[in-house]
């Protein structure tokens, strides 16, 4: 494997409803024609760790762009303050998410070294949002990292506002890689199996991996949920998947 050069900067582009939002671009400089990946950050925000994910994907040879889904809630604030503002405002609405991801995709397609192929990856709440985006927009590759409430509805006692999105699975536009932890309860192994059954029944290309000794958030290297073995294996699968599909 050769070393790659990447270039990173904050960029602005139109998202949902034509609103100008910001995003973190990590561009693979050495590639003359390459695929792109939209990186969807988790609910704690458009943070340093998610930007590191974008850089890692650029280091694989792809262009990556992470839209700041909380930009409207607090344009000039730090990521944790913006996440808190978004939380107080009720979170990221699904239609706004789809519009912002569409804007990020368009920005990536406009880059001089874009081959036109497009992937999306999301973690935690972003896993559900990656699935949702791929049911409403054109993607070649979709990675859902332990997204909850893709299949199941929140329990009645939960005052949660999100709705499951598996009923849109017939519209899933790209191949799906799902990465889960056996110890996770949201999504539980049973929910993962049900999603796999739905995708199989619809003849959707998919590949699921559930790791032992891992629960929710096993990729998060700065959190106690980090599981190095699952994360390392997961990253290998993500790179292989994007290399095949993009």
């Amino acid at each position: 494997m050769r070393d790659r050069s990447i270039y990173c900067e904050t960029v602005n582009f139109p998202g949902f409803n034509g609103d100008i939002i910001e995003g973190y671009l990590a561009k693979s400089v050495g590639e003359t024609s390459t695929g792109s990946v939209v990186v969807i950050h988790h609910m704690p925000g458009y943070d340093r760790e998610t930007k590191a994910i974008a850089r890692r994907i650029a280091d694989m040879g792809f262009n990556a762009l992470c839209p700041n889904l909380h930009y409207r809630d607090a344009p000039k604030a730090q990521s944790d303050d913006a996440a808190a503002a978004s939380r107080a405002n009720g979170g990221v609405p699904d239609d706004r998410l789809i519009g912002d991801v569409a804007g990020a995709s368009e920005y990536l397609r406009s880059l001089d070294n874009s081959s036109g192929t497009m992937g999306v990856i999301g973690y935690c709440s972003g896993g559900r949002q990656a699935f949702l985006a791929a049911c409403n927009l054109d993607f070649d590759a979709v990675v859902d990292c332990y997204g909850a409430f893709v299949v199941n509805s929140p329990a009645p006692e939960f005052p949660i506002r999100v709705l499951p999105v598996a009923d849109q699975a017939a519209n899933l536009s790209g191949a799906l890689l799902g990465l889960f932890g056996i110890e996770d309860t949201f999504p539980s192994p049973d929910e993962v199996k049900e999603l796999e059954r739905i995708l199989t029944s619809l003849d959707k290309v998919h590949e699921f991996h559930t790791f032992e000794n891992a629960g929710h958030g096993f990729f998060a290297a700065d959190r106690p949920s980090y599981r190095i073995e699952a994360a390392n294996k997961g990253w290998v699968l993500v790179e292989e998947f994007f290399n095949r599909m993009l």
Partner: protein, 87 residues
């Protein structure tokens, strides 16, 4: 998981943020992933002024037991304080 469990209430008082004292008009209480605390989920309290930049937030991330103890202690202290002083 992201729980999205959140309640927002009006609040009146002051809080000391990283940028100094602010007038408070809102408190948000949630149980969700923390940014800094080393437990998967925490009881989070954000005290803010909705008219000011979000960076003036005063934030707490407490594990569930600590949050219960804090809530009970707040109520106990209020019980001790004469009602006449709470107007």
């Amino acid at each position: 998981m992201c729980t999205y469990i959140v309640e927002t209430i009006p609040a009146k008082g002051s809080a000391k943020s990283t940028k100094g004292w602010i007038d408070v008009d809102r408190a948000t209480v949630s149980f969700d992933h923390p940014v800094h605390a080393m437990t998967p989920h925490t009881l989070n309290i954000d005290v803010t002024n909705s008219k000011m930049d979000a960076s003036y937030r005063v934030a707490l991330e407490l594990d569930a037991n600590s949050a219960r103890n804090l809530a009970n202690t707040i109520l106990a202290v209020l019980e001790e304080a004469p009602l006449a002083l709470q107007q």
